[in-house]
Amino acid sequence: MLLSSDDLGFMIEGVFSFNLGGHTLWITTSHICLLIVFLTLIVFSFFAKGAMLKAAEVPRGFQNVLELIVEFLDGIVDSTMGKHAKNFRNYIGTIFIFILVSNLSGLLGLRPPTADYGVTFPLGVLTFTIVTIQKFRYQKVSGVIKGLCDPWPFWLPINLIGDFAVPISLSLRLFANVLSGTVMMALVYGLLKVIAYAWPAVLHVYFDMFSGAIQTYVFCMLTMTYISGAMDTE
């Protein structure tokens, strides 16, 4: 069969398996790529710390790049969340850098970890958890119940579904975008092997860099919007 997924390298492959309490658990390519992304970020953070320990008044070179990154991340959080920004700069900055590096890792021949629903769904659940906690903190229990029964009490199930759809739609959006890019590149390399010289670079720029950066921005933007909405006490 032409499209048997064996010769197209976009599926998640198991690397090795082990037994834990009677269950067979697989270490897959997603875990490996995730580990590589984490290690890259950890090494980068050590270099960054080293550079900032001997920081100069007038930044040069690497320090300049670091300040640019931090200022950009703080800028988007400040402009979206206003007075609540200072509590969320760290979280938003972290997930921004993590998702961006994950999406860009497709350029290096890795399978982007964000093209695995097991990676993006926890990110969506994290957003949902933060939103729910902030809702209970700022609107109190009475406010949350009032918000759920918004126009009339029998609206409750629809409002509940709307709340629980947030993490699912957030994570599916990121997952499907990155997966579609991965599949498209795998199709180009797998089926057009003979003529796939140089020009797939253009597709890489679109699918990996442009789409990856936009989806990172959208994920963080929507997370911030949902959290701001939860803290809106009126």
């Binding site: 997924s5 599916l172 975008n177 997966l179 936009i214 989806q215 921005y217 959208v218 929507l222």
Partner: protein, 92 residues
């Protein structure tokens, strides 16, 4: 998935063929986001024409809206990929 009077081979081929047709139909969902993103881009172009100074803000707002509008199309794509590569209806 047990059709009376049909062999295992026929059954699998039938399911694969229907999955492929279903995948093709699911990707039609791409029409919606295409039209929506086009409308957003058109209005953004008009906005930049009226106020060229706000080009940066208009572009980032447009991209954010388009990325959100893209979601429904991606759901269709996801269904198509499940049908094509995961074969959820195959018996074995």
């Amino acid at each position: 998935m047990n059709f009376t009077g049909s062999g295992e081979m026929f059954n699998d081929a039938f399911i694969l063929g229907c999955s492929a047709i279903g995948a093709g139909l699911a990707v039609i969902a791409g029409i919606g986001p295409g039209v929506g993103q086009g409308i957003a881009a058109g209005h953004a172009a008009a906005a930049v024409g009226r106020n060229p100074g706000a080009k940066g803000d208009v572009t980032s707002t447009m991209l954010l809206g388009q990325a959100v509008a893209e979601t429904t199309g991606l759901y269709g794509l996801l269904v198509a990929m499940l049908l094509m590569f995961v074969h959820p209806f195959k018996t074995n």
